[in-house]
Amino acid sequence: MTAGSPGSGGKADEADGPPLSDSDRQAMSDPRGTVETGGPSPTHPSAVGVPAARAARAATATAVRPDPDSGPGPSKPHRRKPLTLSRREDLHGRVLVSPTVLVVLLFAVLPFLAVVLFAFLDVRLVDIPRLYIDNLEFTGDNVTGVWNSPRFWSAAWTTVVYAAASSAGAVLVGLAVALALRRPFPGRGIIRALVLIPYVLPVVAATTIWKTLLNPGYGLVNAVGVEWLGWAEPIAFLTTTSRDVGPFEVPVALLCVIAFEVWKTSPLAFLFITARLQVAPDDIEEAAEIDGAGKVRVFWHLLLPQLAGVMALLAVLRFLWSFQNFNDIYLLTGGSGGTEVLAVRVYTELVVRANIGTASATGLLMTGMLLAVVAVYAWMIKREQA
């Protein structure tokens, strides 16, 4: 209804047959369609047409009827009177999305409302069996307690650093790889596929392999470092909070989890940027090169402006996802070594301290920060368009 209509008249198979058998032929001639219809409809093509469609329609009608909204006032007396097209569309639309809406309401919207509620309740894990709607004890202590705790703010700061560094890193690495793989060469297809591996790898498998690589005892990185790079001793990468390298204090574990996140998410940035590069027109670049512009200048003045939009979008998306990342950090370091981010704090409050109230309050504040980022982004887009 919204798309594709202009081409309808030109379809050859629609023009050459009587309209009635058309759709059935469409369904039957498509091999996969035949498999789908296998059950109820008879196999003889000439006999299929109308009855099967009728039956199907009747089935839909009965499936839809029970909805109490279906017959508003005036149309009630004539039970068989068909609904107008737009009203039927409205009804069908609502019925079709209802299972999705139901499961999302129950398992996402309701829980979120519960977080807001729990954040203001004095409730611990042991209280769950006695939790009833009519004996709730409200308190503001959770939120004020979390707000005033230095540990929360240090986790918030770590989260911001982590999310900003890994989203910027992922976009830049993705850009470099996308540019390097832009022009065809033998074996490009296979390399493109290989580059996607970190994104596809199950997170548990990826972190287990990284932990082994970085293991101080038998990990490859430490073995190489000690053997060939002249390190005095193996480094426990994932538990070292900071280490002096020359004049700098390097947050080792934090850098490791950032590197992991960049490694894991840059393939996605690569995909996005490659998709954008594929639609960048060649002729402008060719013209610029004929006029004597080198590749670097072509990149700065022609390609980068075209890619800026998708890179900004990616950076924001990656920031939002990294901001709430729990799995990668928890699996790599468990939150030790200066890598305690907000998501890990929520988990610690919930499981270790068994305090539902403070866990919810932490989560609520975290969501608030995310929403602030989204709002700033939306505002920036709006200002740009204005």
């Binding site: 580059v195 287990t208 919930l350």
Partner: protein, 291 residues
């Protein structure tokens, strides 16, 4: 343009081209080593005896005599990863089936039908898509405990469905928009009802997209760790494979066994992804991403 002028320009540009060519080669080489290397490393460790790994960490490739696949049966049987894997298969298949069933209907409605509340539905889904999983985990943990579904795979499947349906719906929408509405209109004129229309016309035409989406949802459920950790950790028999491997890393389990487990859970996912790569990439770059 005089001959010398153009010659100078060409040499300058060819120097730049040469540097960029080298740079390009370096980027590609490093990218391949860094992305594919760890997986290869994991595989190579999984087929070596543990003692050899500890004694010779620098020797990447096992000597022909020491190759052993013993870690795999050890991981599956002795450490119980086989049972965990079966749990994961059940959970992931159920999640994919339910999420697809729901989102096919929802995506069709979102693409083709104008109905009251359509925009509100879109906004809610976007919200769910952006809400942090860890934040939802807290109340889900409490509520599922309250209704006695915590620790059951059914509860886990329901949570996964709610988490994946928005993404699946978003992906399917892209594929369904490609189905020409004229075909559907023709079927409607012939008296095809709405459900029959979806089943006989839309679904077959969008089948590759539906398959790719199902695979994507399967992968999300297969890889998921946080909710499995929160809901199932107490009951070892119900652990999913991701949880099982993660729990094993807490104990002094030989790394070769852990690598075997990691490779075992990776193979189906990577194989599936590369089979459906083209379709998945289209879906992903249109903005359907989770995690």
């Amino acid at each position: 343009m005089s001959a010398t002028d153009s010659k100078r320009r060409r040499t300058r540009r060819s120097a730049e081209d040469r540097v960029l060519g080298v740079l390009r080669f370096v980027v590609i080489t490093v990218a391949v080593i860094v992305t594919a290397g760890p997986l290869l490393y994991g595989f190579l460790l999984s087929i070596r005896p543990f003692q050899s790994v500890v004694a010779e960490p620098l020797q990447l490739f096992p000597s022909p005599g020491e190759i052993t696949f013993d870690s795999y049966p050890t991981a599956m049987a002795e450490y119980g990863l086989g049972g965990n894997m079966w749990n994961s298969v059940q959970v992931a298949v159920a999640t994919a089936a339910l999420a697809i069933a729901f989102s096919v209907l929802g995506a069709y409605a979102a693409v083709r039908l104008r109905f009251f509340g359509r925009n509100a539905v879109n906004v809610v889904f976007l919200g769910v898509y952006l809400l942090p999983g860890i934040v939802l985990a807290v109340p889900l943990f409490v509520l599922l405990n309250r209704v006695g579904l915590a620790g059951s795979l059914v509860g886990l499947v329901l949570v996964y469905v709610a988490q994946t349906v928005p993404v699946a719906l978003y992906m399917l929408r892209t594929y369904m928009m490609a189905v020409p509405s004229s075909v559907e209109e023709a079927a409607m004129i012939d008296g095809c009802g709405r459900l029959a229309l979806i089943r006989r016309v839309v679904l077959p035409l969008a089948l590759p997209g539906v398959a790719a989406t199902a695979l994507y949802v399967f992968m999300i459920a297969w890889n998921e760790y946080l909710f499995a950790l929160l809901f199932l950790v107490a009951d070892r028999d119900r652990w999913t494979i991701s949880l099982g491997i993660a729990q094993l890393t807490e104990f002094s389990v030989p790394t070769t066994v852990l690598m075997a487990g990691s490779i075992a859970i990776t193979v189906p996912v990577v194989a599936g992804f590369f089979l459906a790569q083209r379709l998945l990439v289209t879906g992903l770059t249109s903005g359907a991403e989770k995690g």
